[in-house]
């Protein structure tokens, strides 16, 4: 059994009197793809926020690569290798595709803050962006402004930006939301091609996608872990069914 890359222990979260997460324990092994599903309001995005450092939990610890990172902020965790994406595409519309990617690449390649000696770092990051583009569906369109892309293409660019620095851990919040079947397949293909070096947590409402691509699935309901296991186990699990369909007759 591979060691846990990310370990969430006893995570609780509340906003005022609204309890959003109750005592969540979750481990993600290196190299696996974990799907995180559950009805709206279950706490999926809150859990992602806590794992990525965008919010502090009321209680509990977050450990990454055997190291307690609970007190670290989001950008610090990103530098350690935790890459989070958001429900809406956050790209830079007035920049070209290659500049969007170059921006992401400079955080790992260096030169992110370069000024006086910066033209070399700029050039290198753009060259690397070009090679990324050449192997993607944006081939030949590197200079197009990102704002001119369709919604689906922007989502794909957003995903590509997250993947570009080759982060050890990906936390993807509804990566295929609003995408057509074809675009969703493209997105997963993109993810698959980087998967070898990446561990991923996928939050999604697209159950077909989750069941097809994930090694394990965690079902969240009303802030608690209703089920955790392989796709087959979860498919048969009563708690999971109840979470989505309600307690039936």
């Amino acid at each position: 059994m591979k060691p846990a890359l990310l370990h969430l222990r006893g995570i609780s979260q509340s906003f005022g009197s609204l309890q959003v997460l109750r005592g969540i324990d979750l481990s993600i092994a290196a190299g696996e793809t974990l799907g995180l599903i559950g009805p709206n309001g279950a706490g999926k995005t809150s859990l992602l926020n806590i794992a990525s450092g965008f919010s502090r939990p009321r209680a509990g610890r977050v450990c990454f690569q055997e190291r307690d990172i609970t007190r670290l902020g989001a950008s610090r965790r990103a530098r350690l290798g935790i890459m989070r994406s958001f429900q809406s595409s956050r790209i830079f519309p007035q920049h070209s595709i290659r500049h969007n990617l170059g921006l992401a690449l400079r955080t790992v390649r260096g030169g992110a803050y370069a000024w006086m000696g910066g033209s070399a770092a700029l050039r290198e990051s753009l060259e690397q962006a070009d090679s990324l583009i050449a192997h993607s569906l944006f081939r030949g369109r590197g200079d197009a402004p990102a704002g001119a892309l369709s919604y689906g293409e922007q989502r794909l660019l957003d995903l590509l930006i997250s993947l570009a620095p080759r982060p050890p851990l990906l936390l993807l919040d509804e990566p295929t939301a609003g995408l057509s079947r074809q675009e969703a397949a493209d997105a997963m293909a993109l993810l698959r091609s980087a998967h070898g070096s990446s561990t991923a947590v996928l939050v999604s409402h697209d159950l077909d996608l989750i069941f097809e691509y994930c090694d394990r699935i965690a079902v969240l309901n009303l802030g608690e872990l209703a089920a955790l296991g392989t796709p087959e186990e979860v498919r048969r699990h009563e708690g999971a069914q109840r979470a989505y369909l309600g307690s039936g007759p």
Partner: protein, 289 residues
């Protein structure tokens, strides 16, 4: 010891003035996300109105409601034009618009009321002082403190216990949802702006007997009001009360202990608070992503 008690009362009366003007500013900010740098002008205008009223021989106690109503009316007109169009604009644009208006108002007031420092003639009953712990304390300032307590209670009642208060709090929370419930957000904004201006004017009217009115007071008060809003954090009356008290006490006692550099000390202390708590002391936690 009694000297410090008296200074504490001084601080309290100053805090009431800060509370009144700070409430208006935070109301407008929380409700419409509107930064109003002309807010100090309402305070100054209220002061001039009270000064004129008290000098005219009319019943003295009407000076304060009069100031409230008149400045409130101006707030209402400003909401119609040009503030209303700017609620949706960026803060930069709001800052420049309201700052420009503040300059215009300051000059108009200087023109209309002269550049001299004016002190309103207080009615007999409010002149002189009372003996507290063996030292004299101006009766007028007791009035301010009493007015402040009464107002805080009234506000709490209105906001917490009345439908109108609930409507206001709903709009502050989430304008769009409130509108789906049938609330006319635009009208609530107008009322909010008018009440905010009126509160500041009332503060100025009450303050006239304590601070006197002079050109430049608007700018001083604006800075203080901004501090009150920001130190406490946005979104609640309680936070304004807390920060008004803090600022009032720090300002008063720094004048007592370090008279020549008191303002610098006050500003420095406030800056330290903001460094420690960038969102204010009582900022509610909310989901940001």
């Amino acid at each position: 010891m009694s000297y410090y008690l008296l200074q504490a009362l001084n601080a309290l009366s100053f805090s009431v003035l800060l509370l009144l003007t700070g409430l208006g500013l935070t109301l407008v900010l929380s409700l419409m996300n509107f930064i109003n740098l002309a807010h100090g002008s309402f305070f100054l205008l209220g002061g001039y109105i009270a000064t004129q009223w008290l000098a005219s021989g009319a019943p003295w106690w009407l000076a304060f409601p009069c100031a409230f109503v008149l400045t409130g009316l101006i707030g209402l007109l400003l909401d119609r034009f040009p503030f209303g169009q700017f609620y949706a604009r960026t803060h930069l644009m709001q800052v420049l618009l309201t700052y420009g208006l503040a300059i215009i108002f300051a000059d108009l007031m200087r023109w209309g009321f002269s550049a001299d420092t004016l002190t309103p003639p207080l009615p007999e009953i409010l002149r002189g002082g009372v003996w507290i712990a063996g030292l004299p304390f101006p009766t007028y300032r007791l009035l301010i403190i009493a007015a402040g307590i009464a107002l805080a209670l009234a506000l709490w009642l209105i906001l917490d216990r009345s439908l109108w208060g609930a409507a206001l709090r709903a709009c502050v929370s989430d304008r769009d949802i409130a509108e789906t419930l049938g609330l006319n957000a635009r009208r609530i904004f107008t009322i909010g702006m008018a009440v905010a201006a009126g509160l500041s004017g009332l503060g100025g009217a009450l303050g006239a007997g304590m601070l006197s009115v002079h050109p430049g007071l608007d700018e001083e008060v604006l800075l203080l009001a901004l501090l009150v809003v920001v130190i406490g954090g946005l979104g609640s009356v309680k936070s304004v009360i807390v920060s008004a008290l803090i600022l009032g006490f720090v300002d008063t006692f720094s004048r007592v202990w370090l008279p020549s550099f008191s303002s610098a000390v006050t500003l420095g202390a406030m800056l330290l608070i903001l460094v420690a708590r960038p969102q204010g002391l009582l900022q509610a936690q909310a989901r940001t992503v």
